[in-house]
Subunit: 192 residues, 2 copies
DNA sequence: CGTCACATTGATGCCTCTCAAAGCTTGTGG
DNA sequence: CCACAAGCTTTGAGAGGCATCAATGTGACG
């Protein structure tokens, strides 16, 4: 079931009855658990293709707010339907579990990344994770978004990129960033 | 199947044939993906009771190193066995998926936490997440470990606690930390 | 051609990390 | 029972780096 939300609109709010899980098709969604002391702690954003609010299948209510940052399009899988489907169809269930396991890894990886304090180091590591086998990567979206994803201000990102370029560790072409020899020793390719 | 590992011993290494998933019973395990440029980026640690290496069920090989930081005891669920069990038993499968969904939330929460730069704020937020309904929390393990879990040096943690105490937001008793009125407005209790 | 958002670089300040040192707690052995 | 060792706890001083504020350049789109 396709549903669209305008920028600023809420898909659901904390405490709402959990009516289904979502897959983001296009746009940007921010999952923003309400903090006890009022301040908003945003960040974990859903990106296109990702499943989110999976926990709602196992819970009666949502545990955080989901806000559309831009006009967005999502697939809504009604809870009752999904549950029935999954419980009946072992194949589907397996796929679903596999997806969650995959996301778990992704989040762990992100967590590691945040542990790197140095902006250039963090950027470099991010690039390693995103570059293809040839050591190249074309950012999807703006660099500003990229900065946000890896938890840096955009200024810090630009400076880090400049530093890395000056050190000869990366090259920047039109709409593309490449790892240079020093850091690109045929990244191991045995993901998940 | 219970297995024990001494401090410093590796449960498995990146690239090893995936032979099963684990649940930590006691001790501390560090999951440490090898970074391309040699530096170690540790952090995502398994804590007692947690399942880890779930992704190995959906993959032929492990994707990171697992190192015992202290003498540890784990439950090893052989892959073939688990897979068969899960695929046959819908009930078990559902429990397994629920556990992963739960872990997903936990990791997202941690990720939000790391986004808070200010040490006092991060500590406060961590306390909110850990305190019981009465606003109290007894740290399991040392404060040093707590500091590591929330991504601060222990010095920063001690200073943050001192600051919060001075501001009258927390109270520290023997082996217990309490949130004070200002920040403790009956934390919403509708966890999953 | 004007507007708007991204991209880039500069200057400043705060805050956490780091290195250091001292007090405290716990356990061990004589 | 005491003395010593080891690790946690706590506070101090200094430095580096990222966030913040600010300004300019650049590209896309109407």
């Amino acid at each position: 079931m396709v549903r669209r939300f305008a920028a600023g609109e809420a898909l659901f709010r904390k405490g709402d009855h959990a009516f289904g899980i979502f897959r983001l098709v296009a746009g940007r969604i921010r999952l923003a658990p309400v903090t006890p002391d009022g301040a908003e702690v945003p960040v974990p954003m859903a990106r296109p293709g990702e499943l989110f609010a999976e926990a709602s299948l196992f819970s009666a209510r949502y545990h955080c707010d989901a806000l559309a940052l831009t006009d967005s399009e999502v697939l809504l899988y009604p809870k009752a339907e999904v549950v029935q489907q999954l419980k009946k169809n072992e194949e589907e269930m397996w796929k679903f579990a596999g997806e969650m396991a995959h996301r778990l890894q992704g989040l762990r990886t992100q967590l590691e990344l945040r542990q790197i304090r140095s902006a250039p180091q963090r950027v470099l590591q991010s690039l390693h994770l995103r570059c293809d086998a040839t050591g190249r990567w074309a950012p999807e979206g703006t660099l500003k978004q990229f900065a946000e994803e890896i938890g840096l201000t955009h200024e810090a990102l630009y400076r880090a990129l400049a530093t890395l370029k000056k050190e000869g560790r990366i090259r920047r072409d039109k709409d593309q960033i490449s790892l240079l020899a020093k850091d690109f020793k045929a990244l191991d390719k045995d993901e998940k």
